[in-house]
């Protein structure tokens, strides 16, 4: 996007600030997800509280950025690529906020498991790997947005299906566990909901990547299955 075409450099600055704010919010979400996963592996339930608190900050940021978007549209009436950027941002923040919520869900699930006196590590190490993959997707999607790099965005969209596949295999594994030993059912169900939250984080990363493609190329590639993207 060639921002130098604008006559108003103040407008440029506003857009730049908006973008930086979105990416800072993204940074907070990244930290949330990785702290939640660390809590899962280490069992440090104390960090759950700070994750829940930080989620409130993310929610506030979402509202603030949405307000800013409305302001920019009302005041500047952006057109073409600028309008797409603002529209894209308002969708990206929604996805980021939801990814943050999922991180909170993971943290709370971890607390329930450890407080019940169970160790999630006995249920396979797949969760940690799945979470690393999902976190990587979030990071790459945000990088793609910072650089407006559609190639990387496409890569995220493709890689999300790997996360989905991994999620399914973890579910199968847990079902086997539950059938073998019904005493593990409570914990297994918690772990399934954690895995589901991680998988959702991957989906949100994919949505962010789709918005990046929309912002740059003006093509809406949501829900286009089986066609060349």
């Amino acid at each position: 996007m060639n921002e130098s075409q604008h006559l108003s450099s103040q407008f440029d600055e506003e857009l730049g600030r908006l973008r930086t704010h979105v990416l800072q919010m993204g940074g907070m979400v990244e930290t949330q997800v990785s702290s939640a996963i660390d809590a899962y592996s280490s069992g440090e339930v104390a960090s759950v509280k700070s994750i829940v608190e930080a989620d409130r900050k993310i929610n506030d940021l979402e509202k603030a950025i949405d307000d800013d978007c409305a302001h920019v549209i009302a005041k500047r009436q952006p057109t073409a690529s600028d309008l797409r950027l603002v529209l894209g941002i308002s969708k990206i923040v929604t996805d980021l906020e939801r990814a943050g919520d999922e991180a909170k869900k993971i943290a709370k699930g971890v607390r329930r498991i450890y407080e019940a006196g169970h160790l999630p590590s006995q249920y396979g190490i797949g969760i940690r790997h799945l979470a690393e993959a999902a976190l990587n997707l979030v990071r790459q999607a945000l990088d793609a947005f910072a650089r407006l790099d559609t190639a990387q965005a496409q890569e995220v969209i493709r890689a999300d299906s790997d996360v989905d596949t991994e999620f399914k295999s973890i579910i199968r594994q847990l079902i086997t566990h539950m059938m073998e030993d019904p005493r593990t059912i409570t914990t297994s169900i918690e772990i399934i909901s954690i895995a589901r939250a991680i998988e959702r984080i991957g989906d949100h990363a994919k949505n962010v990547a789709e918005q990046v493609v929309f912002v740059v190329e003006g093509r809406d590639i949501r829900h286009v299955k089986g066609q060349a993207k």
Binding site: G16, R19, T20, L23, Q24, G26, G27, M28, E30, T31, S34, R139, L142, D143, A146, R147, D149
Partner: protein, 422 residues
Amino acid sequence: MILAVIAAAIAIPVGIFSRPWHGWAVFCVGLVLQQLIHFRHFSRLDRWTRNPVVDASLEGEGAWDDIFGRLYRHEKELRAQIEQRDQTISLLRAAAQALTDGVVMLDLQNNIMFCNTTAETQLGLKLDTDQGQSILNLVRQPEFVVYLEALDFSRPLTLRPERYKDRVYAIHVIPYAGSRRLMQIKDITQADRLDQTRRDFVANVSHELRTPLTVLAGFLETMQEIELDDTERRRYLAMMADQSDRMQSIVQDLLTLSSIESAPPPDNDAVDMANLIDKLRRDAEALSAGRHTIVVDADGSGDLRGSEPELVSALANLVTNAVRYTPPGGKITLIWKTSPQGAEFAVQDTGPGIDAKHIPRLTERFYRVDRGRSRDSGGTGLGLAIVKHSLNRHQAQLDIKSEVGVGSRFAARFPASRVANQ
């Protein structure tokens, strides 16, 4: 000018000797010719200024020649200066690239102006796409954002980057040239780890010495306050001696470790391996007192080069460990193998085995797989640390393989340069 003077010089006689308007006509023709010449030069100059090049295209006659000459020289000097400056800049850039620390130059709005390749890998930046973009767009960790926006750079930020979780960076921000900022990123992972090890070490030494000291103090108090009969007194004294022996051996091991660390490189004497292995076997049998089967599998020819006392103590330590930790009825095999690549001395046991998560930390000082059990068998927690150090001084590696419930294999691998008489 000259042309106008010549025209006047011709026109005046023509005017006098012929009719006056003939003279004027000649003069006018001269003026027009001069205008044409000027116009030609002017258009040449015009063309040149549109695309100034240092070549011979800018040439003229008369007064124009001087002007063109000066312009030509000016342009040439300017170009030389620019080239020199370019060179200086690229040298400075190369110097920044050569730094082992990451360097990022930021402008007023925290936009990236330049970064070196070290910073690119440390922070996941790409200079060619990220130049001019705010660094906060790419390094998004909340603590970094807060640090950069707080504008208080009196102390460095210690950052565990989200991208590489096992690393630790110290980030210094140095304001320069008004409100621009130079960010220096130092990788302090190693220093951080050392710090941690040192803290652990002090804590461990204190703990290891405190335990026997507490026992000793307890007995002393008892003996001071209560009258004991002879047998009880002897029993208590024996237990006190045990504890003081324990403390002594810990201190002894610590001294050994520190003397190995500060000693000059080991000797290069040949150590007779056949003899040494035989001695190790006898020691093992004595320690085991018939509880284990001890087998020697030494098909290696050749001897080791190095300091005999150090090698004997290191290898004996491996054997003693195997005897101590293998339950009665187990089998311990001493293996000696040589090949053109080097030699290997290994001790294989059928003991309880060690969980994989402990193996990387086994050679740490005072590291214990199972606190209670290893103190029962009389270890100080320093044995393997000493072994590792002694072996390192002989350029040898300690290789540990173990499977829980099956047994362990501790092997010392020596390089070919340490093998003699093969």
